[in-house]
Symmetry: D2
Subunit: 318 residues, 4 copies
């Protein structure tokens, strides 16, 4: 029986490499203000994770002339799935190459999204091993909870800008087996956004229409808190720190997640979020939103700020 990617073959979003022209400031920001933990450094990259992430890292900050996304990596559920999925992609004309093991994970297959975002899938993962006062009192947690700054619990999802949402949505659905959970489709079928899940969460990756002519741009990366109150505390911390809050805290209509967007020192947009629904129905059908429905703004009526549609990294001339 020939292999076909199915839901859950991709286990979860693994880690994201983000470029920053101000590496030191970005690292300082994520350590001191966001409260992530540094796992190590290799070359121009600094690796970080949230206290609840089981992997050695979920964020890779890499010094670069520009901001933007270096690559987005997903962990698949087993070695055979890794081999089969790569074979399936190649058989379907997806170009890519195997890369040797690097910091935090084993060999990975590097390919690109239809919009040109560098992507990777891998299986072998190095787990975080707590030492000293990082050892948790609870064996079912990866690290002791000892908050400093925002202290999000874990990596949640990534949002990428793209020119052709439909092709990106179909690529992740057909090649990686993700579940399409929600969509924005304008009159005439023009797709403006797509939300997909590898897990039971309302989404693990989203694609939104890039209003510029650029390709492969980054919209935001999100870390999750346990409660909406935690997100409100995060807003207090960011405001007091003088960090630019683009919009929020407020509730998304799509995904029903509670959001807070801000720009890190390197210029990339990040989100601190919480909540959203879990999908237990195996027959979930994508929720499709029209332009009229989107005009109503977010869940409680907040209009989406213009920069949310125009600002991505690296920035481009409008």
């Amino acid at each position: 029986m020939t292999y076909q990617p199915s839901f859950q073959d991709v286990a979860h979003l693994g880690h994201v490499e983000v470029f920053t022209p101000k590496l030191d400031e970005s690292v300082q920001f994520f350590r001191e203000i966001v409260g992530l933990h540094e796992s190590g450094r290799v070359g121009n990259s600094v690796y970080l994770r949230a206290w609840g992430d089981y992997a050695l890292h979920t964020l890779q900050l890499t010094a670069s002339p520009t901001s933007g996304v270096g690559h987005v990596a997903f962990r698949v559920k087993s070695p055979p799935v890794l081999t089969s999925m790569v074979g399936y992609m190649k058989a379907n004309g997806v170009q890519g190459e195997w890369r040797d093991a690097e910091f935090g994970h084993g060999r990975a297959f590097r390919f690109a999204s239809p919009d040109g975002h560098p992507l990777e899938i891998y299986y072998e993962t190095e787990r975080f091993i707590p030492q000293g006062n990082q050892v948790p009192g609870f064996k079912n947690l990866p690290q002791r909870y000892s908050p400093h700054g925002i202290a999000p619990r874990r990596l949640d999802h990534v949002n990428l800008l793209a020119q052709d949402i439909k092709s990106c949505r179909e690529f992740f659905r057909d090649m990686l087996g993700l579940r399409v959970t929600e969509q924005i489709v304008f009159e005439g079928g023009q797709e403006m956004g797509a939300w997909l899940a590898a897990t039971f969460k309302s989404y693990d990756i989203a694609f939104t229409k890039d209003h510029s002519k650029a390709h492969g741009r980054f919209h935001h990366l999100t870390y999750a808190m346990d409660s909406r109150e935690d997100v409100l505390h995060a807003a207090d911390i960011l405001a007091e720190n003088g960090t630019f809050i683009e919009t929020g805290p407020h509730k998304h209509t799509i995904g029903q997640t509670f959001f807070l967007y801000f720009y890190e020192p390197g210029g990339n947009r990040f989100e601190i979020g919480a909540g959203g629904y879990l999908i237990f129905d195996p027959d979930w059908r994508p929720i499709v939103w029209s332009k009229e429905e989107r005009m109503k703004g977010q869940a409680w009526g907040l209009q989406t700020v213009r920069t949310f549609h125009t600002y991505g990294t690296p920035p481009v001339e409008e």
Copy 2:
């Protein structure tokens, strides 16, 4: 020794009469969606209270051709203070008249704010006596907590629009002994807003500049929840009910309160709020905000919506 009003002579905001051209719809809204409890009806008025209010009512809805405020009543701390305060006001040229006891309270002195808002002070109060399944399990609470709808805990504060903020601020400070907690003062000393407290809360009444030429207008009345999470639930309830949410939930810079503004069926603006700081320092000095500081928007950067400055009740031609 001649009497002079001092902080605490006015114990707290007692109740507010709000006019509505749609009495039945307004009553239905406050009972079913907001979750207030009806205490009684007299003539064109319906009296309501929150589950945590000790008084028989804190909101009086009165059928009227227009929206707006009927009167704002404050309870003073003792019978002698009531007499002395009235005497002091009269000696200082404040016109007014005694009114007989009515629903929920004893005789009251009716006078007007410098902007013409009808005001009252009274002492004798009828307490809510729980019956049947309203009897609380906790003797230190006025009513059993059995939520339906938003279910705010208690009346919090009132905000009135005025042409001359300075005179209103000084009137409440000098005639009623309230504490000025925060102010907005533009260049040249033009006062745009004043927040005053009769209690340890960051404010119990506020005056903000009316950008129309009208007098005696109402900005909003606020009921308080115990937590910010409760206010987020309120937003969910209002959004699902199709109630127009004007702005929020978000955090005020002034008072540090968490806010959510909406319009009830009669057109009046109401707020569901939580938090804010308590003032323990007996020497608190008013915090004064400049135009530049206000331009920064609310605590987390949300710009104040235009209608917040232009919409009051009754509405006027702009």
Copy 3:
């Protein structure tokens, strides 16, 4: 290739039938105090659901001389899986029978746990179709959020008492493909508890040692709130209503869930819970707790109340 059950073949816990000797009182309790919604009545059964449940019902209350569990039903992810899983069970000596479609779902295979609890698996499900003022403003939610009472969001998990934990754990792992997430194993390998998941939650079903000699007993059924603050509100509501709270609110060490246990009028234990970790790691290994570790009590030190180990339904002579 012969079929073998794998993780996710069982999509989720579908519904649980609970026996009550006081049907009217139980129904009134779940409608008025817990805030569940009635979906219908057939014979001696009343069907209910939480506002966030997509299925027509998640709780079936059935009039009976005693309390206890009628049956526990799981929804599988597709028709072929239903057929294959039944075939696999039969091939492995599991006795059972097909039952015709009934309220809320299509044909189901009825079998028993190693301890004798009636179980079912089914695929065809009737979805809740909101009518009138139940229609949500958000298309991605099954019903309008309009809270009354506790108003939990959804069914979460079931806990069953058993004599032989090991056989129950292996049965659900091997026959139904569930993931073993945590265990309690005393010296000599005696298993005292097992937590298993069909989803990404820390568990969907748990088995704990029955200290009596009885078989097939029910420990509790849990409905989930979105936040710990919501669970605290639930405690306020139950306390004010005079409902017996057995223990909590507090945090479980196992699963890290926030719990609140109480007895409904029929005598069955129910839980209102929130939180807990999500499992993204496809290689999750069961966390095993020793007797010494369990002696430390719950997460914040609360000792487990004795009745938690001794009380189940139907009750038995000790």
Copy 4:
């Protein structure tokens, strides 16, 4: 007109000196785990405050052979009140002496509670002046919110053990003008506990019956969080840090406050709390609880742990 102390003449609880036989460990604990800020050191004392405290310090930790309370200080509302109150106490046979200004405040009158606890009243206070990255973005807050550890907002109340509750209650009511908010009175009028307020909070100081024969003992000091969720986070932090949690988080019936009790390294009991009702009614009458009512345990049924009645500092032979 002769002076008589009235409600509000004592503005608020100012600071408490706590003895510790392990000064370094206690200081480290309050700085790193509780997240208080050090204001300075003089002799054997280290002075600390919460981020929301306006005064230079609210906690004074003093090296001592034993644990216990050094003194409890209240700030009065004005210089004349300080003089008058001292005069009134002396006229009523209260012995005491003036002490020179010391760290954080001006001259103070030192006297003793009927049970022998050292007390002080003072007016002149040194305010905390934020420097560098402690400067808040919000002028109405004393310090930038940048959480580390539990990070409570402010000092809340103190609880002292005493042999004669009635005399302590009457002393604070008659000599200091505090409001008696709640009481525990057993049959025959034996007073077991008294809660008093200088502010609108449900209490600022409490006296509970010392079951030993000792005098002048300390029960606990409480710092307040903004929400119950914050207290749950505090429990997570203490549990992970291996701090002994005596009881909680749970809700007090008395005061309706949400509590969490633990022992600091020096052996003293501290509390992290939130919530409770505010008293706006100037005619509030003390709520009196009987033995039977207290036997019901705390708000949600948790039985009060035995040590709560027996453990105080310094510890004594039972």
